[in-house]
């Protein structure tokens, strides 16, 4: 089973708390270790100072025996420090003075000679009954005032249990502070992130509000934070495109339905009239043939509509081939020549030898639509010219015809679907020019039209790839 992903708010808050715990732990550990090290080094320095003091006192005593008989001079130095342990041995190992002996013997370490000053390196760890301690052993000369003096061995040890207790307490405090801090950081982080996500929730609310019949809602991007502004702009852009598409689609569906009414009506009425009484076989044949023509018209209408719908959704894959443009225009010329000739119109080709990368079927379709459109609008004796020439960064194909032309009022609309400048005269479904424009858009090209002083020219401009 797949786990549901955590909410962004929770995720950010958890990350925040993880980060704060990690930094608290690092800082706490540092503080603890610093304290521990400082305490230890201060203790060691104190230990050395005491031994130095003891050495001086011993040197001031008349003899080693005086240490055993009256050790007070020595023990007084340790007054108030009941964690210190002192042992003084004679040169032969006989104990002269001993305070609070531990059950465990002190380890054997070399004594520091009299003439050498004590350093931190002379301090050793020592294991009392419980906890740990530090110890130092040094040689001292009793009665050094007299000639020679007697060597004795001073061992001073210190138990550190109370120090450890202190450190443990400190660590406990640290842990408590750390836990509290992390908890606080998590809660605050969660609250802050949640607050920042409020904007995002408003996007969700807006998105929930949108349907195909209510597409005019937009996000306000001015007062949004930078990160969300981008999202908002993208979201609004998507809504604009969707709204545009939906509007075009519904307009398109309405146009199509509208346009299908005429042929369907013809079919229906014609058939019903024919069936209203008995007819001769010839009459039935004529009816069926006429119906078949209407069906073909409907079928073409559907095909054209589908073509436009696909071109709109960019679902049409272009199959570009390198074409000899003059040959292509000549082919179209050959096809329409008979038709033009039949109505007394001259069809010319004036093309440079050009090679272009265009989808051949679509090129044929676009130019044919223009020619098929031009011939019926050219008066007998006039001419239709197909031309092609190289222009800056591309080629331009023109289909021009002589004749009264298209009224300026119609020009901006003639590429619209189902638009008819002259409803009575137009034979096609009014999609021909829209298809030409769609084909040009698919190729990233442009179509323009110009109609004045008895010449109408459609220009197709293809950019060089």
């Amino acid at each position: 089973m797949k786990r549901r992903p955590l909410s962004l708010t929770l995720r950010v808050a958890l990350l925040l708390s993880a980060v704060s715990v990690a930094s608290f732990v690092a800082v706490g550990a540092y503080l603890y270790h610093t304290l521990q090290r400082q305490m230890a080094s201060r203790d060691d320095i104190e230990l050395i100072a005491k031994v130095d003091q003891l050495r001086r006192i011993i040197a001031g005593l008349p003899s080693a025996a005086a240490i055993a008989s009256d050790g007070r001079a020595l023990t007084d130095t340790l007054y108030g420090h009941n964690d210190f342990m002192l042992r003084v041995n004679a040169a032969d190992g006989k104990p002269l003075l001993q305070t609070s002996v531990t059950s465990r013997p002190l380890p054997q370490v070399d004594s520091v000679p009299v003439q050498r000053a004590l350093t931190l390196d002379d301090i050793h760890d020592w294991q009392p009954a419980a906890g740990i301690g530090r110890m130092v052993r040094a040689t001292a000369l009793a009665g050094a005032g007299a000639a020679g003096g007697e060597p004795v061995q001073v061992t001073l040890a210190r138990e550190r249990s109370d120090r450890l207790k202190l450190l443990r307490g400190y660590a406990g405090d640290l842990l408590l502070a750390l836990g509290g801090g992390a908890l606080l950081a998590t809660l605050l982080g969660y609250a802050i992130v949640r607050h920042s996500m409020r904007q995002l929730r408003s996007v969700v609310a807006k998105a929930n509000d949108i349907s195909t019949s209510r597409m005019n809602t937009r996000l306000s991007v001015q007062d949004a934070p930078v990160e969300l502004r981008e999202l908002g702009v993208a979201f609004n852009g998507m809504l604009n495109r969707l709204e545009d598409g939906v509007q075009r689609l519904s307009g398109f569906a309405a146009d199509l339905a509208h346009d299908m009414r005429t042929p369907v009506n013809t079919l229906m009425v014609e058939t019903q009239v024919a069936l209203s009484r008995a007819r001769t076989v010839e009459e039935y044949q004529a009816l069926l043939a006429s119906n078949s023509e209407e069906y073909e018209r409907l079928s073409r209408m559907i095909e054209n509509t589908l073509f436009l719908a696909r071109a709109d959704n960019a679902q049409l894959a272009l199959r570009r081939e390198t074409l000899d443009l003059r040959a292509e225009l000549q082919r179209i010329h050959d096809y329409f020549e008979i038709l033009a000739d039949d109505v007394g119109v001259r069809l010319n080709v004036e093309a440079e030898a050009l090679r272009v990368d265009i989808d051949p079927v679509l090129l044929q379709r676009a130019v044919s639509n223009l020619v098929a459109n031009a011939i019926p609008h050219t008066p007998a004796g006039g001419q239709v010219t197909l031309s092609a020439r190289a222009v800056a960064d591309g080629v331009e194909i023109q289909v021009s015809n002589s004749g009264p032309g298209i009224a300026a009022a119609h020009l901006p609309h003639i590429f619209d679907r189902y638009y008819r400048a002259d409803p009575a005269r137009s034979a096609g479904a009014g999609l021909g020019l829209s298809i030409v424009r769609a084909i040009m858009e698919l190729h990233g090209g442009k179509i323009t039209v110009d109609s004045q002083s008895g010449l109408t020219t459609f220009s197709l401009r293809f950019e060089k790839k």
Binding site: Y335, L339, Q364, A372
Partner: protein, 223 residues
């Protein structure tokens, strides 16, 4: 020539059977995918015309199952002509496809092409009644009398003569004579036929170029 049609739409199935019967084929009809597959596996058809949208088992599945056992040529009919759909059909092993709505003449032409085995050698001289077409020399005579035709008129007559007795739709003619490969609204083909007739038929009693209203044209001797 035995053909199997698999089509669930009752009217479409009936007219396909009728049309192909009348064109001289023996036709079986299955009205759903399961029956269609069973029939196709049981009998040895020369061609299967398969609709894609079928109840119980769709055309894709029928085609895939059939191809596991047999290589019978399949022409599939579809109302969706997305490129992806077409590619899918051809990849599954269909031999050709036709998008609805289609002209009956177009279906007939595809059926004939699929049933034709091996390359057909085209003869150099085509004859119908007293019409003679010398393809190599591009000469046309009727009753020994020379007829002058333009290049396109010759191409048109040659096409009709090659496929004599077969109805050719305007779209097919435009594609094969002028290489115009889309369904256009214009009546170029009608005008071209009229001009051809003026030269080939009008001076003679026996008419050869026939109009089949609503379908297209064919070359056939008719009094």
């Amino acid at each position: 020539m035995k053909i199997l049609i698999v089509e669930d739409e009752p009217k479409a199935g009936d007219y396909l059977v009728k049309g192909l019967n009348e064109s001289g084929y023996v036709v079986d009809l299955a009205r759903n995918g399961i029956d269609g597959l069973a029939l196709a596996l049981e009998h040895d058809y020369e061609l299967i015309v398969l609709d894609v949208m079928l109840p119980q088992m769709d055309g894709w599945t029928v085609l895939a199952r059939l191809r596991e056992r047999k290589e019978t040529p399949v022409l599939f009919l579809t109302a969706r002509d997305d490129v992806a759909d077409r590619v899918k059909g051809l990849e599954l092993g269909a031999d050709d496809y036709l998008v609805k709505p289609f002209a009956f003449a177009e279906l007939l032409a595809r059926v004939k092409t699929l049933l034709r085995r091996g390359p057909v050698r085209e003869s150099d001289i085509l004859r119908l009644a007293d019409l003679e077409i010398d393809v190599l020399r591009r000469r046309v005579t009727r009753g020994g009398q020379r007829i002058d035709l333009t290049a396109k008129e010759f191409a048109l007559l040659h096409l009709l003569a090659k496929r004599q007795g077969e109805v050719l739709s305007r779209t097919q003619i435009a594609s094969m004579v002028w290489d115009m490969n889309f369904d256009s609204d214009t009546n170029v083909v009608d005008v071209a036929i009229r001009r051809l007739r003026a030269k080939v038929d009008d001076p003679y009693a026996l008419k050869l170029v026939q109009t089949v209203r609503g379908m297209g044209y064919l070359l056939e001797a008719r009094e």
